[in-house]
Point group: C3
Chain length 435, copies 3
């Protein structure tokens, strides 16, 4: 439960809002690299934090991310020509390079002289891990990119995909760090659980199903939150799942199976990037730290018909509010808790069903919502601190992001931070790449 | 003509508005019984008086009407599971019974203890006459259901149907109690009248056509208004049509043919139930007090392609603003006054054409609008009285609703209230049913 | 660049706004005559300056333009019956003539007496040049129609067509008087220019291409602005194009080829008529002062698939924002500056891409925008003068509109106003017609 005022503060992201300014201190995933596949390719529309932008790749392969509206008469540069090292407005031919400099002003007799006075908003952009990253904050505060392990891996060892979500970013983040809902939203029916047990089938995530009210322990860490969920396992054991939240909107999903050595296992994570106050890009990154993904794994992790789809060519989910997420009541009665197919579609159904911006002052949160409560406090505190002049530390320390999430089976008297240290110390960025 | 302030007061229906509070003191038709056909059937979305709701039928056949948003984290219960005596949210599994009690909270370690503190908004619901009725007012003011005769009749003697109307409820009510417009909106062309007369055809409603400016006499009655429209008939006779308005939004259509004994004749009536300020459910109830409807009559009175249609499977009219109600200008020139087929489509065309909320301060009402003027006064007075602490009497006296409307041919010097008494004293609720 | 306040003043057109009141002093193109083809034809919906209207043609062929909403209960007269010399509301049968008089009130017993008290808003309408013109200003200020030459020509010598544009009227006007953008938005690519030159092809508008930063000279004239754009031509010559702007929203396109005697040449012009603050009718008028258009010329100038299309049967452009104006990036790379086919579609793409009302305070205008800057000043001044009580002179002098635009090749030391006088003195209205 949040006051109306805090809910506004948490959810509004346009320029000048406290949360919007906080988010602008961090690099953000903006486009898939393949949306700008080659030098001088077609320009692409882009909207982030409520700002209309245009992205292009210049003749030298550099990425430009500019205010969509030409500073001359505000025609949209999306219709522009991506020419020799710059994008040219089709209305009167003004041309801008990736840094926002006006490099040609052919409509003006004194254009050569005047163009020096014109500069448009240009945001720094970098490509890493198959993703175009953008920084929309103050120039003098520009940090390094976060050292997310997957982004350093060779192309065949990682995938990235995105889908549009029709709600505020905070709603999406809260779903992503909510270890409690997986026992329900993504679960099978009781009947199906029983049927499986009768047949001797043991689910990979059986503890999620058998202990549906985990005990939470949430630690603030330099880069965000480590969210530990403890479930009862056999005998003297607890099954621990540690979800990583990395400021300001990244998450890493714990592996389902605790027994395995995480450095051998593929993993996935999300980022929820605000398009505007009421729309969000839900990114999914997957990686195998040790080996190439097979074609089938690539399609499953990153393809439009895979695990995080189905989506259309504009990254819009095919199961959406307009078709009730293809809710199948028979399926819901007999097999799965929701009757909706696909984990991201189940998430979208509940998160979007709350309305574009959920009125958090009507909630009744419990202990299972500990992570969400802590996350809100953290974000509100950082936003207020920035208003007061204190920059967010994590934005300045990309090296803090070199971690993984963790699932482990520990003795009941073991400390989870000790027991999971070998995992949460994290990813292993290839020395060469991290230079 | 109404002031802007009174127009606001008349039309706004959300919680806390004076009219919204008045309407909440009455039982309202909410769903067709067949939308909740059996115990544990699929939940149904419902919106009334601006409130998002979910309806379900539990294992014992009881109907639950709850706030659509789960009090935990506000996911929509429409996606919920209708399980053993309750609906369960698919996000974290909280479950509610028809009274709004939280009966299971599986995501919380202390759920058994905590669930007692959680209660969601639940509105009492009853099934009568093939319709689910809902009461959305204060618990301590909950009245009995209104004794509308049709609702007590055996299933084969009655029908109920509904269609969505894209305007404010008051606009719809005003069309329904407006005995004047039938000579025009629902009439034939002059040419067609003449052609029929030339051929010796005498219309069943010939007085509506020949005397198009009835004289009105409107009496306030305990349950609402009795609206008498007098038209000249042959010789010394007046043709009287008495439309009943029953608080807060019910109407009974007078029979077309005056000579018949009303207790032998089928009749119809409407209710206009606000979905929100700009959308309305137009209900139509038909009944034969003496005998079963034939299949053809059932289809005509209550079917999707019948008299009150055509509508699609979501009760949306197929002739609507998007297709100009299939206005046929040739038909309009030659045969009917509007060129639009179907009485409800003619009504919708004019009522929706005024805009979602008609600016009544621009009107120029005449004596033919007497019923409308009186209705507005009545509603505004009752809303203001309730603000002042005085409950509406009619809500407390369901027995007052056991009436019928009336059409009669009377001598010119007869008093219509005397002459129509035997009709307006009303319906005959089967003694057993009314217990 | 304009202040936010001036931008509001320039763009808002509803009744009571300063610009709205200024525009209401002028006759406006409202409908194509063929939309009201004959006496007693079907009524037509119409929206101008934010006002919902209905237009009809009565039994005597007179055009009525009335407030869309019947003054009785505000049903839309579009659904009305166009009967013997008046339009009749289908709700209760009130009937109005082209002057807004209530000529029948059949629903009222005292209708004959009461109808004299009822009058609805009616705007004077005239047909000239195949177009229905409407005057929406104060009765006592009603001027004569503007003497636009094309409107006096015989039907076979002129065409008129319109298309809807999804932006504010001022944005559209500014595109129409912007002689600078034609070198870019409507031009070929450099590569294509070069290819043509290599092949010895000389474009008709080669100076627009070779000198892309014309020098502007803008003169205020009694009827508006004469906008001269000077481009370098061969040897000692300048190529001058004089675009006419005629108050409040008319424009005349200069001929492309300067050498020809303008009185032998066909020409075109536009008018941008506000539907409301965010939507505009873009009219195009074409004429040949000397001879009939061929069928092919008629289709090219005025047909739905011609130069100013393609449009559908409701005058909606088929290339529009929803389909990105059928932008073809390959075409854009290889042949044309935009990759969008059709001059009006190119114009619409950039003008609509700025948003419905462009925030002019973010612009950076240059000398090539001189005409636009002057136009804004003129319009703002006239609007403010009218607020102060001073009527716009041009509205009272229809005879001032009898002009043409001009393109001419002059010696570099010649004065363009002298050199173009024989053209800008204008059109030649047939003596008989102008009576």
């Amino acid at each position: 439960m949040l006051s109306k005022e805090d809910n506004e503060l948490l959810t509004r992201v346009s320029a000048g809002t406290p949360m919007g300014e906080l988010l602008r201190r961090f690099w953000m995933p903006a486009l898939l690299e393949k949306e700008l596949p080659s030098p001088d390719c077609d320009p692409v529309r882009l909207k982030l934090l409520g700002e209309d932008l245009v992205a292009f790749r210049d003749t030298n392969g550099r990425v430009g991310v500019l205010d969509a509206y030409c500073p001359h008469r505000l025609a949209n540069l999306y219709f522009g020509r991506n020419e020799e090292c710059g994008i040219r407005c089709v209305y009167h031919g003004w041309k801008f390079d990736v840094e926002g400099n006006c490099v040609d002003m052919p409509s003006e007799p004194e254009g050569e002289r005047l163009k020096k006075n014109i500069k448009t908003t240009a945001y720094p952009a970098e490509i890493r891990g198959g993703v175009v990253w953008v920084y929309m904050g103050p120039k003098e505060k520009q940090p390094v990119l976060p050292d997310l392990e997957w982004a350093y891996l060779p192309e065949r060892q990682r995938t990235a995909t995105k889908r549009m979500q029709m709600c505020n970013w905070a709603q999406a983040v809260e779903g992503g760090i909510d270890s409690s809902h997986i026992s329900f939203l993504h679960g099978a029916t009781e009947a199906q659980h029983k049927r499986a047990a009768d047949q001797g089938v043991v689910g990979r995530n059986r503890f999620n199903a058998t202990d549906r009210h985990p005990v939470f322990d949430v630690k603030e860490v330099p880069y965000g939150l480590a969210i530990a969920a403890r479930r009862n396992a056999e005998a003297d054991n607890y099954y621990w799942r540690i979800t990583q939240f990395l400021l300001p909107f990244h998450q890493m999903i714990p592996p389902v199976v605790p027994e395995r050595d995480s450095s051998n296992a593929p993993y996935s994570g999300h980022a929820w990037v605000p398009i505007d106050d009421e729309t969000t890009w839900t990114w999914t990154f997957s990686a195998h730290p040790k080996r190439d993904f097979t074609d089938q794994e690539r399609e499953f992790n990153g393809g439009p018909e895979g695990m995080w789809g189905p989506i259309d060519e504009n990254f819009m989910p095919k199961h959406n509010a307009a078709n009730d997420y293809l809710l199948d009541r028979k399926l819901q009665r007999e097999l799965t808790f929701t009757g909706i197919k696909g984990i991201p579609n189940q998430d979208a159904a509940v998160q979007e069903s709350m309305g574009r911006i959920v009125p958090r002052w009507k909630e009744h949160v419990g202990t299972s919502d500990t992570a969400i409560v802590r996350w809100r406090s953290l974000m509100l505190r950082l936003a207020r601190e920035l208003q007061g002049g204190k920059d967010p530390d994590a934005a300045k320390h990309g090296e803090w992001y070199n971690v993984r999430s963790c699932a482990n089976m520990l003795k009941r008297d073991e400390d989870w931070q000790e027991g999971c240290r070998w995992l949460t110390t994290g990813g292993q960025i290839p020395a060469a790449a991290a230079e």
